[in-house]
């Protein structure tokens, strides 16, 4: 059979802790953020890609279309984003490390089945290269307007992990991390990039394969007769079983018990929902990542993520030149939101300034976490471009006045 070695490779893609052949030779490359994300997926042993083309995420699909066949991976362009999202869920259950990529309108279409991924506890990665909306909006221009949709976009109540890269290098690095987190916590992980980062070309270092740490899938060690799909380990994450290996489990998007059988009452719902939430929240320390710059003596904090943090960084320097002690807190993990970190910062500064390319989304979280300990100022932008430095600087000056 033609597929013989193929199936083995796909199987390896989720159970291997070492990087499989296919990764680029180590060295420095020029990539845009989308290409770097695709290469990050390959480096993370991502071997199944399904998507529907959409600007500004198309380059991820195009690069995967060119690269996956030679890496032992499967590529398929699906008929829409509903299909793409479901397709990667199925692929993950068959043993693949699977991903999809999209932007605003497609992200909306993926929402229902992102929920299925969360409910079935399926490790997959979804990259959203954000553009400005609503609706078709500005198809080729930047936005950071899906940050709340990332958190709450699927119906029902749940926790989600979302990472925001600020450079092509980080698209590569965080794609690997997104896969690792998805495997570690058996949940879909969002890579929330944006048009500016996705289309920006910079130097990207591909490290030697042996320097890349990968989290293999948590496959059960139980014998088929002794396995139920939702008996959690101590960290609340249940080990998985690959399709076709004799476990013959049932899983459902309905509220279910440890056997994966429907359990349709308030008690069953209570048990499942809290476990799904707590497996993320109890492990939050392992998920959080951020960068601080010049925060030691800061009187004002610029809090930003993704492309906006690049503007924020130069605003910080400008402010320092003018004698304002500004610092930067760049969120890399935006969801789950780092409440404790922001509360701590809020206790040390006179104001937190939040520039983001939306009309004020993450700033709400900052306000909530700061709990009135400091002034929190939103610097909104409707999308289609970046903040200008003087405009943000002016907000800082006004906030300190």
């Amino acid at each position: 059979m033609v597929s013989a070695g193929w199936v083995e490779r796909i199987k390896e893609s989720s159970s291997e802790a070492k990087v499989l052949p296919g990764i680029l030779r180590p060295g420095a490359y020029f990539f845009n953020g989308d290409e770097a994300a695709a290469e990050g997926a390959i480096a993370a042993n991502g071997r199944f890609f399904a998507a529907y083309p959409i600007t500004p995420a198309t380059e991820i699909a195009e690069r995967c279309a060119a690269r996956f066949p030679e890496c032992g991976g499967m590529f398929i362009q699906m008929e829409d984003e509903l299909a793409a999202m479901n397709c990667i869920l199925g692929a993950a259950w068959a043993g693949a490390k699977a991903l999809t990529s999209t932007s605003g309108p497609g992200f909306s279409l993926m929402m229902e089945n992102l929920g299925l991924g969360i409910m079935l506890e399926t490790p997959v990665v979804l990259a959203n290269v954000q553009r400005a909306g609503p609706s078709t909006g500005l198809p080729t221009s930047v936005g950071q307007q899906d940050m709340m949709q990332a958190r709450w976009g699927s119906h029902g109540d749940y926790e989600i992990i979302a990472l925001c890269p600020d450079s092509p290098q980080e698209c590569f690095d965080l794609m690997i991390r997104a896969f690792n987190l998805s495997e570690q916590f058996r949940t879909p992980v969002l890579l929330m990039s944006d048009e500016t980062i996705g289309h920006m070309t910079e130097k990207v270092i591909i490290p030697p394969a042996e320097e890349i740490e990968l989290v293999p899938r948590r496959y059960t060690r139980a014998a088929p007769g002794d396995y139920w799909p939702y008996v959690p380990d101590e960290d609340l994450v249940p080990p998985m079983a690959r399709a076709g290996t004799g476990y013959r489990y049932h899983v459902t998007g309905l509220t279910h018990d440890h056997r994966g059988y429907p359990d349709l009452d308030a008690e069953g719902q209570h048990q499942l929902l809290w476990r799904l939430k707590n497996k993320i929240l109890q492990n939050q320390k392992k998920i959080l990542s951020f960068e601080m710059a010049r925060m030691d003596d800061a009187e004002v904090c610029l809090l930003a993520y993704g492309c906006s943090s690049r503007v924020a960084r130069s605003v910080m320097e400008l402010a320092r030149e003018r004698g304002i002690r500004a610092g930067l807190l760049r969120l890399i993990t935006v969801w789950p939101f780092p409440d404790d970190l922001v509360r701590d910062v809020a206790g040390r500064v006179k104001a937190i300034i939040v520039p983001e390319i939306n009309l004020g989304q993450i700033v709400r979280e900052v306000e909530r976490a700061a709990r009135g300990r400091t002034k929190v100022v939103s610097v909104p932008h409707a999308g289609g471009g970046l903040h200008t430095e003087p405009a943000v600087l002016q907000v800082i000056e006004e906030a300190l006045r």
Binding site: M1, I10, I23, Y29, L89, N113, R248, H250, I287, S289
Partner: protein, 351 residues
């Protein structure tokens, strides 16, 4: 696998949960019985036929996956002792696509309702058929949305009543075998729940087929479709099947239109062979691998640089210009690289 060997149940014991030793219990989850289906419903018959076909054809249970969408029919996956996935409304086919393409050694079967597969999931159905994915789709057509209480479906015959067509359905229904075959399905059949033997045989054929199989099962919904339209009970529909069905293998699916009354064309309409998506993909992969080994030859000392080797070759920077770079095809081989400076390989969490 020998179908005579009872498989250990997934309950941790040697006994299959809920089993009283019936041969069918190896494939049904008896611990989930009783099922939710109404008396007289054709879904039990369909699932029994499925189980019989699995038992009879000797297919490895462990390599058989079943995927359902949402609906009365969608519950089928939950009653089968196989790797089973109860997904979302309309999305069983794309989920199955992922399972199949990530592991083409699995046999993936979709069992779902007519509304699930042809209304909300209609787009996936036609594209899966067009791609000739190696999947079996069993579509139970009961002319109505059962699970949600009897709303009009894309299969409801004109004039028939449903809760959302209280004065009669205004729309022309799908001819599902025609839809599937014109989209590219390579095995297309229709049976009624009266045609138990034939249904089992076609299921067996489909399990062994390489390509997209679409089997429509016409099934009574006495509780909603029949009651509202004063068509009697489940038995009355079986009687209609007996008198109205017309077996015609190889019939043009175009002729398989269904009305509220009149003939019901059944049989295996289409059975042909055509390259599947997976076949085409693997062909492409082996061609690429061949081309790659040729390029490898060319790339030996004095060979082409990545930029020349292919449009997709990334521009490596920071390497000494004089050093000949291996061709694109050499990516997998890791040469004695100088350690890349700068950024850390993997983003790490803060303490």
């Amino acid at each position: 696998m020998n179908p005579e060997t009872p498989k250990k149940g997934t309950d941790g014991g040697d006994e299959l949960p809920g089993s009283d030793g019936h041969p069918m219990d190896r494939i049904l989850r008896m611990d989930r019985m009783p099922h939710i289906w109404c008396p007289g419903c054709g879904l039990g018959t369909t699932v029994s036929c499925f189980a019989l076909a699995v038992n009879e054809c000797g297919i490895d249970y462990d390599k058989l996956c079943v995927v359902s969408g949402i609906g009365c029919t969608g519950r089928a996956a939950g009653y089968l002792r196989l790797d089973g996935y109860h997904t979302t409304h309309g999305r069983a086919i794309p989920f199955a696509t992922g399972l199949h393409l990530a592991n083409p050694d699995l046999k993936v079967v979709v069992i779902s309702g007519d509304g699930d597969l042809s209304a909300i999931g209609g787009n996936h159905l036609i594209h899966a058929a067009r791609r000739n994915l190696n999947l079996v789709v069993i579509c139970v057509n009961n002319f109505i949305y059962g699970m949600t209480g009897g709303q009009v479906a894309p299969t409801t015959p004109e004039g028939m009543k449903a809760t959302t067509s209280p004065f009669g359905c205004l729309e022309h229904p799908f001819n599902l075998p025609y839809l599937a075959s014109s989209s590219g399905a390579t095995l297309v059949a229709r049976w009624t729940t009266l045609d138990v033997r034939q249904m089992v045989n076609t299921f067996k054929k489909a399990f062994m087929k390489k390509g997209f199989s679409f089997i429509e099962v016409i099934s009574p919904c006495p509780e909603l479709y029949m009651r509202r339209n004063k068509l009697g009970d489940g038995l009355a529909m079986m009687k209609r099947f007996q008198s109205d069905r017309l077996v015609k293998h190889g019939a043009d699916p175009k002729e398989a239109d269904l009305g509220a009354t009149g003939k019901i064309l059944v049989g295996e309409f289409v059975n042909l062979d055509r390259s599947t998506y997976a076949d085409a993909y693997f062909r492409m992969v082996s061609q690429l691998a061949e081309a790659k080994s040729v390029r490898k030859e060319e790339a030996k000392p004095g060979g082409k640089s990545p930029a020349q080797a292919g449009a997709k070759a990334p521009e490596a920077v920071g390497e000494p210009k004089a050093k000949p770079r291996p061709a694109e095809g050499d990516r997998e081989g890791r040469g004695p690289e100088k350690k890349a400076a700068g950024t850390p390989a993997v983003a790490t969490s803060p303490p």
